[in-house]
Amino acid sequence: MDFKLSKEQRDIVRAAKEFAEGEFPQRAQEFDREESFDPDLHRKACELGFVGVFIDEQYDGAGLGFFEHCLIVEEFWAVDPGISQAIISTTFGSELIQLFGSQEQKATYLPRLVAGEAVMGTAITEPDAGSDPAGATTTAVLDGDHWVINGQKMFTTNGTVADFLLVFCQTQPENPDRHSRHSFILVETDRPGYNANKLKGKLGIRASDTAEVAFSDLRVPAANLVGIEGEGFKQLNSFFNRTRLHICAQACGLARACLADSIAHTKERRQFGRPLASFQATQFKIAEMATHLRAARNLYYEAAWLVDQGKVDHGLIAMAKWYAAQMAVQAADEAVQMHGGYGYMDEYRVQRLYRDAKILEIYEGAKEIEKTIVARSLLG
């Protein structure tokens, strides 16, 4: 057992940190306040190779693992979650194409994501189907050599900025097994019948685009089906077993930012004639935050490392995701507490981190769903 990162992994961490620290802080508050983003930052990150490192070399990726992707995500989130999400989410769904897509789909779509020439997203959640994705009712019906798609998706990341989406559709609504009714279909967003509306007023990660999306008799070629028809739900679980690792990395990055700001503030801020950091009440908070962060990181390191070894442990990944997200929410809460009134103001980063943190317990598997998965892995 060796807990050290390789030299190359250390170099990746350092490079990601330098880029994020050099580019994000001066724009973070503006994007958060205005719910906006500058695509130039995405372009720069792609030029430096930070986007889609897990994509195979034959499709212009770095051919690295999900673990290395996590290392980059953690460094980015340790500077600013919103900007990081706007940049990194541009490949959200490429995991599905890489796992289940045809050669032609991989060759057509993956290189454009790595180059920063395209942005993608994956539309799963619907107004009435969130934690129960098998309840999704967006339909795709074969009409000759085209799928005709109708329905509505909710909270779709990159809905208004994506060049293409993977859409989780019912293709066999009559199948008695509700987990065999769905398929992923690739939809180019410039097709007639596509409509996306940017959702304003998110609590956090406000630099990242989230939209409600509607499909109205939208036609795509039959070849846009990803993988085998009817296996969408199974594919979705495989997808989440990768992307949930990214959430863990996001959580650890966010908690690191909370810890760093809390240490700096409590050493500087004096009350009763002494720095806040000299009070045991503060020391315990800092100690707990650092310990929980380390535990969360070790948990996801193991889960991510196993995936790159070809061993996908559904229960362990769910454990890591639930624990890391909860850890980050608690870290942000304590960070604001240690900052007192200042922490309530958006001039202080911890205020933004507090708002950014909550989504970690919601997206890509609410914590209750993660615990259900863990329990199932133990109880059967």
């Binding site: 030299k7 190359e8 250390r10 170099d11 990746i12 350092r14 490079a15 330098e18 880029f19 050099g22 030029e47 430096l48 190779g49 930070f50 490192v53 770095a62 690295l64």
Partner: protein
């Protein structure tokens, strides 16, 4: 154009709470994060730009412990071609004359058109290694470059002087030049650059194998007597009270000292 860049792995001390070791001989670096010396980063960037403009190679050289290899790989990822590591723990904060002697031994038989280094290192701040190396190799040198242009077999250097003045000097190549921060905007390290480093083996020299005579490396001409934190200054007066009271007191003091009519 073949360029050599001297680089150093230094602790990031600007934001850190430094502590002196119990025996008073060194800064305790156990909890410090190490990174490339800021000035050296500009030197690497300048070298890579010159290579991109004129062709040739960039070789990186460092002397330090095994962790110091990090700064070599970083330079390779930025565009360097070759890296040489003189590995030793003791000389890490050593006297520049000894460092340069070790470098000269390793460089024997090699030739470069240009040798670049940062003006100084952010840890010990001697600002001597590159200049001493020029002396040792019998090469002309210029310090504190904020501009640098190759012109045939010469290099023209803009040196930064005090009070916003500059000096333009010409040197025949080969030459040694120390680079001031701000000469360029160093690039970020890319994932592509990092992956390229996989294919490059760092050339490793153990200091003890260099057979340096005691007079060259062992016996330093300068010995460190004590490392210490300066005492907090006396004479600061902390004003207390409400904002209005503090302002009144401050105004009274300024008036008393003749600052207000």
């Amino acid at each position: 154009m073949d360029i050599l860049v001297l680089v150093k792995n230094v602790p990031e001390a600007a934001q850190a709470d430094l502590e002196i070791t119990d025996d008073g001989s060194a800064v305790d670096t156990d909890d410090l994060v190490f990174a490339i010396n800021e000035w050296d980063n500009y030197a690497v960037e300048e070298a890579v730009r010159l290579k991109e403009a004129h062709g040739g190679t960039v070789t990186l050289l460092t002397l330090g412990d095994c962790e110091a290899e990090d700064v070599l790989r970083r330079g390779l990822a930025m565009g360097g071609n070759r890296a040489v590591h003189i590995c030793d723990d003791d000389l890490e904060a050593g006297e520049p004359a000894a460092v340069v002697e070790a470098m000269a031994k390793v460089l024997a038989g090699e030739s470069f058109d240009l040798i670049l280094a940062g003006v100084q290192s952010s840890d010990m701040g001697h600002g001597q290694s590159a200049v001493l190396l020029a002396q040792r190799l019998g090469l002309p040198h210029a310090t504190m470059a904020v501009g640098l242009a190759i012109d045939g077999d010469q290099v023209e250097v803009v040196r930064e002087l005090e009070a916003n003045t500059s000096e333009r000097v010409r040197l025949p190549l080969p030459a040694v030049i120390t680079v001031q921060s701000g000469i360029n905007q160093p690039r970020y390290v890319s994932i592509m650059g990092i992956r390229k480093v996989r294919k490059i083996a760092v050339e490793l020299h153990e200091l003890e194998d260099l057979d340096l005579a005691a007079t060259e490396a062992g016996a330093s001409l300068v010995s460190r007597r004590k490392l210490f934190m300066p005492q907090a200054g006396q004479g600061a007066e902390i004003l207390t009270g409400s904002l209005e009271e503090v302002c009144d007191q401050a105004a009274a003091i300024i008036r008393e000292k003749g600052g207000l009519a």
